[in-house]
Subunit: 517 residues, 2 copies
Amino acid sequence: MIRVERAAEARRTRESWSAFELSHAQEELPTAVELPEHPGLWQVAGGEISPYLGEGLEVAYPHATPDELYAAAARAWPAWREADPEVRVRLCLEVCDLIHARAARFVPATMHTAGQSAGMAAAGSGTNALDRGLEAVAAAWEAMRRVTPSATWTGRFGKHDVSLAKRYRIVPRGVAVVVTCASFPAWNAYPAILANLATGNPVIVKPHPTAVLPMAMAVAACREVLSAAGFDPGLVTLAVDSAERPIAKELIKHPACRIVDFTGSAAFGSWVEANAFPAVAYTETSGLNSVVIDTFDEQVLRALAGSLCLFSAQMCTSPQNLFVPRRVFADFADGLAGAVRQISTVPRRAAAMLAAIQSDSTLSLVSRMRSAGSVVLDALPYEHPEFPGARTCGPLLVATEDRAVYGEERFGPIAFLVPVDDRDEGLARAASDASTHGAITAFCYSTDEGFVARAEDAFAWAGAALTSNVTGPMPLNFSAAYSDYHVSGLNPAGNASLTDDSFVAGRFRITQSRRPA
Amino acid sequence: MIRVERAAEARRTRESWSAFELSHAQEELPTAVELPEHPGLWQVAGGEISPYLGEGLEVAYPHATPDELYAAAARAWPAWREADPEVRVRLCLEVCDLIHARAARFVPATMHTAGQSAGMAAAGSGTNALDRGLEAVAAAWEAMRRVTPSATWTGRFGKHDVSLAKRYRIVPRGVAVVVTCASFPAWNAYPAILANLATGNPVIVKPHPTAVLPMAMAVAACREVLSAAGFDPGLVTLAVDSAERPIAKELIKHPACRIVDFTGSAAFGSWVEANAFPAVAYTETSGLNSVVIDTFDEQVLRALAGSLCLFSAQMCTSPQNLFVPRRVFADFADGLAGAVRQISTVPRRAAAMLAAIQSDSTLSLVSRMRSAGSVVLDALPYEHPEFPGARTCGPLLVATEDRAVYGEERFGPIAFLVPVDDRDEGLARAASDASTHGAITAFCYSTDEGFVARAEDAFAWAGAALTSNVTGPMPLNFSAAYSDYHVSGLNPAGNASLTDDSFVAGRFRITQSRRPA
């Protein structure tokens, strides 16, 4: 529990801390996952094709029906919900440790489904995602611990004192469905799975059909830890579907569903938020992350180029729209294109930074966006030094003033340079887009303190996390567990925040009993 | 702030405490309410008819459209949301103090709308409701205070340390609509209004059309305190409607609505929960509160009779269904009827306990329920010593095994005695009804520790607050601020709990900004 307490402290102070040491060891791509006692018939899913190899993964998973998964959860629940919260929290930490111990196996699993680089798979989807998971466990632990388990109450009624002995219990809400995304599943899955488990709820994990493997491995880790501790592994199960026959809606509308954690498209996220009832929904979707330029130099261009290249901008924190005053537009566009080229045209750098493109549909989108404005930098594939068949694509930079083009999320290595009359117009548009269409991050470059302060206010009310004037080695859109709140819940980019109290407080309820003392 | 800290401590320890001294002073029934600068045309509402006098109240209120109310909120919001949370919390406490200072005016306002007795209006709807309000303010204060306002973060990237200065802000969610009920509005209204204000949200209060006056007076108190502190009173407004032209749905579906607090019928509560999105909803509705009898004596019968009589069982905590083993059914039924008669047939006692019937429709329901089973005790009016025109009605006790009769909430002085084969059948039915139909409270009488323990488990999972073996001067269904969690959120009787962390944690969000340190 020392690490959970330490995590809780880091969450309070929001200083830098990690519970997990980063290693870059890497094993072979797993060809099977062990899920003993898991309901369902085993078969290859079919949707998993390595972005690096262009070949199907051919890993078999159990295919259970929603009713089978809910039945497993129902059988497993009673012992878990009655377990001491501290026992649950300890086992959540063991799950983190087991996943961490297998990091070298998770790295290729993440690479060959999400398309991330080895480095990002080890850090962002590895230690950082585990830290986000532990952060959620710590938040849940603190929230449960604030509930006094018992009290003696003495009140006066007329001339008499009445003393009651009261007992307060943490009662978990019920079965949780965790729907994960294709390109960065671990980062949201770990907090959701672990927050649900810590607060006593069974979990059904429904991965994106193209990125099942890392989630199946995480489910396996949960089940192993739970089984070893004497709990029914039915507490954590895997729901496998396909693009042709999706089952997320069926899982969410199941009468026993009480909690939904969703990461994915804004369209489906809105459906979840509006239709999850009687379940509570925690969502992260997407939006229009913007950069507001007032002043810039070479360092700024390098930092922005890095952010546009990082994992080919397939991150929910990647910027898409750059608002640039007309007076400096041409210089900025030229400079940025040059800075991007320094990464995207050098295969070794490109491989480490851009990695691979998760989905074929992203390449089609890039193609279509070429004609959406004036191309500042064309999107070109690079030759991956290690995987010649990798699906790669450098950033496309398009200059446009057409709101119909940039006023929508264009997922992938696509950025729009939008000329504006001045910095204030840029800020106003960016903040308004964040409010209206959602945004997780925002970026601002200015040497004018007054303007930075105005930007901080504007994005605070719009609900986007603002990074101002940051250059140097840290990726601009890096988000630190325990320190950076991820998603505000104030705009359409999601209603849940990693990790505020409201992310955990509704996953359990409190019931009480009282009797004469 | 000392009292807020003290309230937070009471909420942690859940011991007995009150910030407000009870007085039984009583002024004349107010004939007007002052709401300077409030939008809307002033006219008498028409729905308010005193249950004690049988006459219309003829108080005029401003009738504003939803758009006018939202516009007022929008104008008032910026200064309030940017105010220091401590300033907001202090002003919430001032609102409590001003309402408390006017307690003698609130008492007749509550009596002549809700039909409560003077004693209940002063205590339950007065000091206890204010304590519930302060409890919510304390919870909000603690939740906001847990968010560190700033941090310096230093992380290592490659060979370089990166230091960032981070700022975290509490950002209120937006306009809140508080829909209050007819018979006990203050108790839920104060926590909702004050939790919203403390966390920075404007509030539109939509009272039940038959019980506007006490809510209008509360709104007036809020506006006076806010205006005196230099804030725009548009932060708290009153929405007045009628049974013929209800406006709650229009208020809730307004595009600017972000929070809904609802107290009222289960049917409308379900609509709110399912349709509030994108607003978050906090509801308390109703359900089937049960009593499970194993053993009983004279004291038990007196306690139960008191609870059935208290405010003519027009409380969300009043028991309705009493499950009684057949072997003792006749004795129990006779004894309970006798114990009720000792209250209901003595006008002085009846006036203090039963008070008046809020709505005419309750009397019709009582009439219909007479033929729903075998009448154990008929419901008879009593002559109120002070108000000869008062609408009164003693409890109706009906013996029935028909689930269609007792398996639904029958609001008012109606209780069903349900014979069961044994105590375990009674417990199973009561707990199942709580899960399926909702329940806020449950009661159990048994000298067998093992059975009480089973009842505690069963009602804990069903989400009803259990009171076991309590007799004596405390009304059985009394719920103490700071100590008793009210509504669990685990069954259809509502999704919000007074006052757990989840009641406040979602009313504000957190946004952050960061820059080089």
